[in-house]
């Protein structure tokens, strides 16, 4: 039995293009990654809003009308769902990458994540307060 006699054929499974549908956790991962598309959409939407406001009161009103068309609302609802998914996964996962120390001791990841969620709440409140005319 020499090397050439011994057949060393390996079976090499291929990863299918649809590998991510086979597992719930993979699907969630792919959805998380796709959230970036809606982040990009959010930027576009935001810049359009700013542009409209800058062009004057009329175009601002036009923008508001455009934004309340049903398909726009649906699109933005979907986008909202994705950016919320993005925010939640981001704030739960990101803290695992950093070690925050308090008096030399590492804080548990859950507390770091808690801090992030608190910051999220504060930021949202501030934005709402400014937009809704508290300023």
């Amino acid at each position: 039995m020499t090397a050439n006699q011994a057949d060393v054929r390996r079976y090499r499974p291929r990863t299918s293009v649809f590998w991510w549908v086979h597992r719930r956790s993979y699907l969630l991962f792919v959805l998380r990654e796709l959230s970036c598309v809606f982040v990009a959409w959010f930027v576009v939407y935001l810049v359009l809003l700013v542009a409209a406001a800058h062009r004057g009161s009329d175009s601002y009103q036009q923008f508001l009308e455009w934004s309340s068309r049903p398909w726009m609302v649906v699109l933005n609802l979907v986008a909202l769902a994705f950016v919320v998914l993005h925010a939640i996964t981001w704030f739960t996962l990101a803290p695992k990458a950093m070690v925050v120390r308090l008096q030399g001791r590492p804080l548990p990841a859950r507390m770091v994540a808690g801090g992030h969620f608190a910051a999220w709440a504060v930021a949202s409140a501030v934005v709402a307060w400014i937009v809704l005319g508290g300023w």
């Binding site: 390996r10 079976y11 499974p13 990863t15 991962f29 990458a97 070690v99 001791r105």
Partner: protein, 247 residues
């Protein structure tokens, strides 16, 4: 509880033609039996030609990793009763070439492992005096978790990036590099940076996180990689801002 359970086991013989097939065996269902005990029953009583690896049957040698009902698992620590009434599908670990039946080839990992220099690097050479390098329990806690890796390869089987990008260093190798980087006795972090902070190293990982879910020893390779990304990125930034201090 029924007293038997069906195992659907992957059979693959490289010297015969054809791709892997599933073969069914009926084995006794006993409360204390792990999936591995079922496989040994098959090998000893039903079909001596079934091949798989195992040794310690106490979750520490890392040889018995397989895919059980779709999830990577150590078969010596996964119990048949948890799958009753069955059937239980037992397949080789995903993302690796299959040598035979349930045996996969892990040469790729064995080649990558030395690249990350998983040993203690000392710049002062190796001076073995009669005293130990001091290390407080707190300093040990920094890396302890990452030193628990048994090289079972479940994390590689769970990581889709490794499946798609075979050049990826992979979770366990990076976690082991971090095990030494974070060891207060080690001085080799900057040497490992060159291997780790590459497109095939940490930057290939998209933080799927499944490696950590699959790991039977609580190593958290996903966390190790993310932590290292932050370290590598800040070091790079520092070398841009303060090139004179960069190494």
């Amino acid at each position: 509880m029924p007293d038997t359970i069906t195992l659907q086991v992957t059979r693959y013989r490289p010297d015969a033609d054809g791709p892997p097939t599933l073969q069914e065996y009926v084995v006794p269902l006993r409360e204390e039996w792990a999936v591995l005990d079922g496989l040994n029953y098959i090998k000893d009583q039903l079909d001596g030609t079934l091949s798989f690896r195992w040794s310690c049957r106490m979750g520490i040698c890392g040889s018995c990793g397989m895919t059980v009902n779709g999830d990577p698992a150590l078969t010596c620590g996964t119990f048949l009763t948890d799958y009753a009434p069955g059937p239980v599908r037992v397949e080789p670990l995903a993302n690796f070439p299959v040598i035979r039946d349930l045996v996969v080839e892990i040469d790729d990992f064995m080649r990558k492992l030395p690249e990350v220099k998983p040993w203690l690097v000392r710049e002062d050479g190796e001076a073995l005096d009669d005293v130990e390098f001091l290390q407080t329990p707190a300093e040990m806690d920094e890396y302890k978790q990452y030193s628990m890796c048994i090289n079972c390869m479940l994390c590689y089987a769970a990581c889709p990036v490794y499946g798609l990008e075979p050049d990826f260093l992979g979770p366990a190798a990076i976690a082991l590099a971090q095990r030494y980087n974070l060891d207060s006795r080690d001085q080799g972090a900057h040497q490992r940076l060159d291997v780790l902070a590459t497109a095939e190293g940490i930057w290939a990982c998209t933080y799927v996180g499944e490696c950590t879910t699959a790991c039977p020893k609580g190593v958290d390779p996903a966390g190790a990689i993310q932590r290292y990304k932050l370290t590598a990125a800040t070091r790079t930034l520092r070398s841009f801002l303060m090139p004179w201090r960069a190494r």
